[in-house]
Amino acid sequence: MTDPATTNEEPADASEEFEQVDLKNPLLAAGLALLLPGLGHLYQQRYAKAVLFMVCILPMYFFGWSIGGGKVVYAQWRPNAPILEQRWHYVCQFWTGVPAWPALVQTMFNQPFGDEFMVAPELSDRFGGGNEESDWHAQYHGYYELGTVYTMIAGILNLLVIFDAVGGPIGSVIRSDEEKKKLAAKNIPAATAEARAKS
């Protein structure tokens, strides 16, 4: 069997496996990706992926928000509730970025956007039982949970997108400009060099 490290043969899948990515400033890209899904990739000029992330994540978030009656995204800390009954869903939703952050602002700064938009429910029990959140469940049935799941998954997916903006896709090659110049001087395609190094 021929060792690709000692020959000039390029493995058939080298270009596929070891993709080169120019991440520009990864931290800035991560910040932009956190603001809005795909924005970091737009900055990195990875246009196809930027569009893909925007098209996949933002509609999912807004669809979930819509079928849940606009009530599913809110931040709330319940002082007397057990730890598992806190609104942990928002921890996932938060990573969607700007579309989810008004909920945090509403909770932290006494509802500057009004008392309808992304406002946490009243938790005090009413006469006859139940509270505002149970009203929402009754009003929207399974769609309330479904909307919550959609918005949570949108946030979790954007977390993956942020990691991709920082480190590139798994298996990709991150090279400094100096390394690229060296490879170009030797007339070695970077993918081939990487394949040799790995083998």
Binding site: K49, L52, P59, M60, D164
Partner: protein, 68 residues
């Protein structure tokens, strides 16, 4: 009785459509975090979507038999 059962069966089936955008989006985004080229992304996303759908189908079948 049978009509109401059919109604609920229909409602449950219709709800499955809500899984479709989730499967598509999750597959595409997951695949895109592992590849840079669109052809590789689409290939990976397709296999990922098939795998996820199959997994959901198996779980549903098991639950169906347990419920029955």
């Amino acid at each position: 009785m049978i009509e109401s059962l059919l109604f609920f069966a229909q409602a449950d089936t219709n709800r499955l459509w809500y899984a479709l955008p989730l499967v598509v989006s999750v597959s595409l985004v997951y695949a895109a975090t592992r590849h840079e080229r669109m052809s590789a992304i689409l290939r990976h996303a397709t296999s990922c979507a098939v795998w996820m759908s199959g997994f959901v189908a198996v779980v549903m079948t098991v639950l169906w038999f347990m419920g029955g």
